[in-house]
């Protein structure tokens, strides 16, 4: 893969992340009366978050155990908080 291609992929990932985040925030408001849907949205957000992070750092050639642990810990914190509140 050429440098310009990997740079394009990195930029596209960030461009996608912003509208996706906005969609999820709006959806969490629309479905505020439905705990099941909110939980599913949160799980989707966790999945997108980790996927985007891995892809971004892979193309950035900065993927390391320390960075993976960072993302995983924040995902676990999110999961624990959500399980205590949404369910």
């Amino acid at each position: 893969m050429t440098k310009s291609t990997s740079k394009k992929i990195k930029m596209n990932i960030f461009y996608l992340l912003l509208p996706l985040s906005i969609i999820l925030i709006v959806a969490s408001f629309i479905f505020r009366q439905h705990a099941n849907i909110q939980l599913e949205l949160a799980i989707l957000a966790i999945f997108i978050y980790i996927s985007f992070a891995l892809i971004h750092h892979f193309f950035d050639k900065s993927l390391s155990l320390e960075i993976i642990i960072d993302y995983i810990l924040i995902s676990i914190l999110a999961t624990v908080i959500l399980l205590g509140v949404v369910i």
């Binding site: 985040s21 969490s28 505020r32 705990a35 909110q38 949160a42 320390e66 993302y71 959500l82």
Partner: protein, 304 residues
């Protein structure tokens, strides 16, 4: 220890602030898990301490229901004491038999309570709710659900009955709301025999019988005689801690702390013109924003 490094990246190594380092995140996770376990333990050992301070009024619920009907050009439903009694009997039964469903484990259906209160009907419906904080939230939740909304705006219904009852369900203090709708037989002039039709939508159910006596001023489901409905009452025994609000506020506090520190980290590194090989700021912030929105929009109340 340099307290500045708790909140800011290290001045020489430019490592993340201690409060958003991996060990700190692990500590936050542990704190939250311990909090959940502690609340669960307290609810098992001392059930009277945890509870929800509800501000739900029977009259307010009826007023809000009629407001929704009037907004659609429908006539208001009139409160009927028989339906009030049926709603109360239903709520008491839900606590007594400890179930959250339309039909009791012993086979009682919602229509039996209405008929048992002396209200003969041609159409009837029931909505249930639990653990909401105020009357507006209850009605908004019903209106957001198609089947419950159908009950509220059903043009066939003439009467309404409400019950708001406090008790314990599955070891947790719970506030139940039962809403009954009906069209009396006498409203249909030409029917020779009362015809009992099936309800037009599914009722909702929630209940658990309090096992111990409740403090003065709080009406319990264990009293056999008709009791006034509980309105605007808090659980008066001991210290009241709302586990849901406590969890939510601590969660929001943690997310806010982590978010602020990540933003600070971004701007400090930018000012220092330092490129650090670490996880990116933007995905963290986007994810935390989604999570915060989910938490803010979450609601402990449920309808069935």
């Amino acid at each position: 220890m340099n307290w500045k490094h708790l909140f800011l990246p290290h001045s020489q190594t430019h490592k993340k602030a201690h409060l958003i380092s991996a060990p700190a995140l692990a500590v936050y996770i542990a704190i939250f898990i311990v909090l959940q376990m502690g609340l669960h333990l307290v609810s098992t050992v001392k059930p009277g301490i945890l509870g929800i301070a509800s501000n739900i009024s029977q009259q307010e619920l009826i007023k809000l229901t009629n407001a929704k009907r009037e907004a659609l050009g429908l006539p208001p439903v009139i409160e009927d004491p028989r339906l009030d009694a049926a709603a109360l009997a239903k709520a008491q039964n839900m606590f007594a038999e400890n179930y959250w469903a339309h039909y009791s484990p012993s086979g009682k259906d919602p229509w039996g309570f209405i008929l048992g209160a002396g209200y003969r009907f041609t159409n009837a419906g029931e909505n249930l709710a639990r653990n909401f904080y105020n009357s507006n939230e209850v009605v908004d939740a019903w209106m957001a659900s198609p089947t419950h909304r159908d009950n509220i705006i059903n043009s066939k219904y003439r009467n309404i009955g409400m019950a708001v009852l406090e008790g314990t369900l599955n070891g947790q203090p719970t506030v139940l709301v039962v809403q009954e709708f009906g069209t009396p037989v006498e409203a249909i002039a030409q029917i020779p025999k009362p015809q009992v039709n099936q309800p037009t939508s599914e009722p909702i159910l929630l209940a658990e019988a309090p096992k111990e006596s409740t403090p003065a001023g709080v009406f319990s489901a264990s009293q056999n005689q008709p009791t006034p409905l509980v309105v605007n009452k808090k659980i008066a025994s001991g210290v009241l801690v709302d586990p849901y609000l406590l969890t939510k506020n601590i969660g929001l506090g943690l997310l806010f702390l982590v978010g602020i520190l990540i933003i600070t980290d971004f701007f400090v590194l930018r000012k220092r013109a330092v490129a650090r090989v670490s996880s990116s700021h933007f995905p963290h912030l986007a994810f935390l924003a989604v999570l915060t929105s989910t938490l803010i929009n979450s609601n402990i109340g449920s309808i069935l």
